[in-house]
Assembly symmetry: C2
Homo-oligomer: 416 residues x 2
């Protein structure tokens, strides 16, 4: 099955909004073996919608339209589809009740324009929208499927994920595809690809690997395609396991989990606590940890010291070491980690000190030089890196790396 995605809305064409919906839809369709031929953003003019439908219907089996289903005068997609498919409008009772309740809850008087949102074409299947008031629409013609959903991302995701995908799986002959995504930190895509090449070459024909890199991280998706789910499931875990072993210490979790989530889970399981002493990351590690719901179960706090004076006063770093080795040094970062762990009475500690730039680099310690220390009940370790001359990238790579280092250490210790 081949699909086109059409995004409707002037806000995309004036550059006000980045179309993130299409990438999400494309990834979900790919997972069930539907490939995307083209993604298109058009204005919310009637004629442009009709033209785009005409173009696409000759190309593909499935067209997904998003947007243009708003509450005011941009119900234009519905009108255009009704005209295209020769529909009459019928007021949908369930939708009307939802709209009325929505307005009532907010104390807004309902007007006829609001009620008209419940008028749906009589020759389409309505796709339930449990997170909003307006349902999606599914038309079929000559074996082709045309679907329209609202542009609001969470409504779009609900309707496509919970209504359309199950519908396609049930009613269309799609291949069976199994996926597993391996999350890694610390290995560049090219290095991982080289390491995995013999494994990739030895994979059966119906298996494939995809690399999905982002700064400091690479997601690796293993897929198997076939016609028989039982048969596929039989061999998959063994291949998964091989890949996990090859990814080694760069692998930290499955299927989109973040490193701060994994660290949080490990800390919680071990009944451990953590604190951070940050210089160059300036709170980025604390921020990552506390973005996770429930972080208060294991995170106590942090001391951020951007000056040498505060490193001495708050974290009791030796004045001598600061003078002799500089703030960006093994000696200093180890003391920061040890002392924040003591001061905040936690099991684990992380410390960072580095030169994020653009200024402050020297020949000996160029911009990008970073020291990270991690400390635990059994040891304190320090590591040096150079993350290059982009300030924000250095900060975020330091955070990812520090969290990955503390993960190793927590895993080694296990539980209290």
């Amino acid at each position: 099955m081949i699909a086109n995605i059409i995004t409707i809305g002037d806000e995309i064409l004036i550059g006000q909004v980045v179309d993130t919906n299409s990438a999400w839809i494309a990834e979900e369709l790919n997972k069930i073996g539907v490939s995307v031929n083209r993604i298109e953003s058009i204005s919310d003019k009637h004629d442009d919608i009709i033209k785009a439908l005409d173009n696409s219907i000759s190309e593909v089996d499935l067209i997904i339209l998003t947007g243009g289903l708003g509450p005011t005068n941009d119900d234009i997609t519905k009108e255009a589809l009704a005209k295209y498919f020769g529909s009459k409008f019928v007021r949908d009772k369930e939708t009307l009740e939802k709209i009325e309740k929505f307005m009532e809850d907010r104390g807004i008087p309902i007007i006829e324009m609001n009620r008209q949102q419940a008028d749906m074409p009589d020759n389409c299947k309505l796709l339930k929208n449990k997170v909003g008031s307006v349902p999606g629409m599914l038309f079929e013609r000559d074996g082709k499927i045309i679907v329209s959903v609202p542009g609001v991302p969470y409504e779009m995701k609900y309707i496509i994920g919970s209504e359309l995908i199950p519908f396609l799986k049930e009613n269309k002959e799609l291949p069976i595809i199994i996926h597993r995504t391996f999350m890694t930190i610390g290995g560049a895509e090219s290095i991982l690809a080289e390491r995995l090449k013999p494994f990739e070459d030895s994979l059966p024909d119906n298996y494939s690997l995809a690399y999905l890199p982002s700064p400091g991280k690479v997601r690796i998706r293993l897929s198997a395609i076939g016609k028989d789910e039982d048969n596929l499931s039989l061999g998959f875990p063994e291949v998964e396991n091989q890949l996990k072993l090859l990814l080694d210490k760069e692998f930290y979790g499955y299927d989109g989990v973040s490193i701060e989530e994994v660290v949080g889970i490990l800390l919680k399981e071990g009944n451990f606590t953590i604190s951070t002493a940050e210089s160059c990351t300036g709170g980025d590690i604390a921020n990552a940890i506390t973005n996770i719901p429930g972080a208060s179960d294991y995170y106590k706090g942090s001391v951020i010291c951007y000056t040498n004076e505060l490193k001495q006063e708050l974290l009791k770093v030796s004045e001598n070491d600061l003078k002799e080795h500089g703030a960006v040094s093994k000696q200093v970062v180890i003391q920061m980690a040890n002392n924040v762990r003591k001061l905040l009475k936690t099991d684990f500690g992380i410390a960072t000190s580095g030169i994020t730039g653009p200024t402050g680099g020297t020949e000996e310690k160029p911009v990008g030089t970073v020291w990270i220390a991690i400390t635990s009940p059994r040891t304190t370790l320090a590591f040096q890196y150079n993350f290059g001359n982009d300030r924000l990238r250095t900060i975020s790579r330091t955070t990812l790396t520090a969290l990955n280092l503390i993960r190793f250490e927590i895993e080694k210790i296990g539980t209290k």
Copy 2:
């Protein structure tokens, strides 16, 4: 002038990459009076590129293609364009030298495939690429312009911003457009729109306002269009000034500047320093401040206290107040701000304490309740908010609001 944007690359069609290039291009084109008719993402197959060109050339005056100019076998856009325009390839000396130097610097042996990247169509204008090795290409046919640039965002931005836009301004009859973007925090789009309605209605016909909202912030773009730059420039400052006055305290700066940049500039100008004491924001404010290059001139450090115990121990918050009023209270947040300012010996201080959720809410203090205190040499002020039940949004809105509050205070004091 009307344009289509075509993005080439399978990585977009499988949902691996979100197309952010097109929104950037669309916004830049809009600024010079070129409107975008359609944005399209297609595969890097030869026939699909030809078909997309054929479709677009009948619709618009300008086609911008991005992507498909990579180093390996995806030079497919160049081949397709050469075929489309009947070009011969000529090896471009400047490009070849750049490629050779790039490979040499990295100690990679150069092969013929690398050299072929310097083969450019003989009937196009090359658009210089000062941030990468491969130039952009500009073809003209029947008064229409077809441009191809690499997909790497910073190369694409350089070529379009520094080469194509000046070329279009010089060679095509475009309207003169003046823009000014007003950055605001704290006012919802609908509230600002209501406040500005009389102003908007009174604007001359050649003026327009655009609202560009994102969580917690609204950018408001004022544009004037005309044929005579001098004439336009004459009236614009007065209208700008009216808008600035109407936006009042929600306005914090112009043209994309961030609130943390503005706060940094004010602190630097006033020769001031700042520290933060964060509970619910967990380092997000410190992180925002230290993301700005040069932050070490005014930022000293922070204490992040996620537990009551640490609020007492590190920030000397009264045990009594913690028991009586709770950690999320005016009393506690004021002590946090005052004491971090004293402890870190800074001129200004910010403190936050709140319930970001999903758990921890009570009837009296539901999830989303946040207290922010700011302190300066002359006063300490505290404010209560409710930012709703999305954890990450509450954190980021608390940070924006706190930075905006400290901005008022620094502005009031001026300099030391």
